[in-house]
Subunit: 320 residues, 2 copies
């Protein structure tokens, strides 16, 4: 009921104990633990709850599911569990700023403003863009940042994967099973996934790699038709005809909305926390992939959301 | 096959990349991530895999299970997942010492010795004892440290719970639903569970509390018949007839086997780690409830096991 009120009355300001910015695994875990600690907890998600995990294929490394679980199903479970416990989750709320107002925080989204006594930042990462001509124009028309979402549209077609890290390798292996042809284009000399097993799978896949090469343009008509490339060693130019361009050149934290807040971040824009998920601002915590923690794993994000909510509870009860 | 060999050949020494001491959620997650990183990984568990979670009732706060999941089922899932991935898990291996032998570690159990290039300590906690006359004698005959395991034997009987923290409150609430009468005996003035909701449930339960009181003896014949108590304020002695004594006065880390290792622990015996789960000894990591981390939650233990294994992998590959 409160929800309907908020959604339909523009400009209304609501008071919460805890606002969690971001509805991925870290944010939804924080929401679950917030309400379990009897905090009035609101989770604001810029799109739909679930975060990156909702776009993953089968998740085999989240402990508790010996047969694996589909990413979208696991995301749905996280959301359901937090909601059942009593967390309010609002989708399509792009948070634009967090401001300090005396002893509370003002959180402004694209459509509303909310007050909170404590805030947890769990906005995760977004895909890095190539920044070349045609990239924006053809996004959704051949250019994709989510191979598990869009891969099936390219069955028996030609695709390229741009990148050399874990995600690029995963994309190439995934697409290798359904596309007619997959080429991996990378600035590096060779691919370098996080896990050895991905390396050996890639080695045995027969997928063609084009090393020391950058993409300089994406072209087409209604849809992508090809890319222009440049060899980084000798400057030679070339072209590759392709139906799909999967960009997997890394991720960057979603912290633009924090630019007016004196919150400490590292040089790459990740929020710095201690092991209690506290930032340098009392009352503001951070959890999950948006933090500078070295290990980016689903289970770690979940645990950080848990710890952040318990610390927010301690903070609000004078024990922070 | 290796397993049978180890179990039946006394005194054999085996070489592993990674040995995880303890097969609870932290240890099994470490096992899962160890083998995923292609480390030859052995998990040694003193009893049966699962840890404390296997004795919990329904678990509602592990993200991923919106309907909750029985502790014993979740423990089984953790074990299955690690085993399916390729971890070797040996039950009934009480580890007695870890020794540094040049650039590897010698792990001695009650029945065997193993070498490892890296070790993760994930031995968790055990229940603290009262240390009073009759306690040891009547353990299993009325004295219990696991209300979810033994509670059902006390249906329609009289029981006491000793303690005032979260576990004591959980025990009292659980037993309140099946026993004829539950009394809570505590040295403190009042119970103090971690979560507010437990506090209000307790307040509304009608369970009798006997504050500022200690148990000084447990007596009986074949079975427990009662306890002797002392009021801490006025020294007055008393007796309570009871069929069951559930001791919930806290837990203590299982670190006795580390006493000859120069590993840093805090004053309560918890292993000190940094946020990469590294101890002060290169190659030895720790994860879960045995560490000095402030938040003792299932999800946190799982994440710490994950991080410990990934760091062990980095260490073994010269990036630690």
């Amino acid at each position: 009921m409160t929800i309907v009120h908020i959604l339909h009355t523009n400009g209304i300001t609501m008071d919460w104990d805890l606002i969690v910015v971001g509805g991925g695994p870290a944010g939804l875990s924080a929401g679950l633990y917030g309400v379990r600690a009897e905090l009035e907890t609101l989770v604001l998600e810029s799109r739909q709850p679930g975060g990156q995990i909702a776009t993953a294929g089968i998740v085999e490394n989240y402990p508790g599911f010996p047969e694996g679980i589909m990413g979208i199903k696991l995301a749905e479970n996280f959301r359901l569990q937090a909601e059942k416990a009593g967390a309010q989750i609002l989708p399509m709320q792009e948070v634009e700023s967090v401001e300090i107002e005396r002893n509370r925080f003002l959180v402004r989204s694209n459509s509303n403003s909310y007050f909170a006594r404590a805030v947890i930042i769990a906005t995760g990462l977004r895909h890095r863009k190539l920044g070349v001509q045609g990239e924006k124009e053809f996004t959704g028309r051949g250019v994709s940042y989510c191979f598990t979402c869009d891969g099936p549209f390219f069955r028996d077609k030609n695709v390229v994967v741009v990148g050399s890290g874990t995600s690029a390798v995963e994309a190439a292996l995934y697409l290798g099973k359904l596309a007619k042809n997959v080429k991996m284009i990378m600035k590096a000399k060779n691919y370098a996934p996080r896990e050895k097993i991905q390396y050996s799978r890639m080695k045995n896949s027969g997928i063609e790699t084009i090393p020391l090469t950058e993409v300089i343009e994406i072209y087409g008509d209604e849809l992508v038709r090809g890319i222009k490339i440049r060899n980084l060693k000798n400057g030679e130019l070339g072209e590759i005809e392709t139906d799909g361009v999967f960009v997997e050149i890394g991720k960057t934290p979603n912290t633009d909305f924090l630019k007016n807040l004196p919150i400490k971040m590292d040089s790459a824009g990740y929020v710095i926390t201690n092991d209690r998920q506290e930032t340098n601002i009392p009352g503001i915590f951070a959890a999950g992939d948006v933090t500078s923690a070295s290990v980016k794993q689903l289970g770690v994000a979940v645990a950080q959301g848990t710890v952040a909510a318990l610390q927010a509870y301690a903070y609000l009860n004078g024990r922070g």
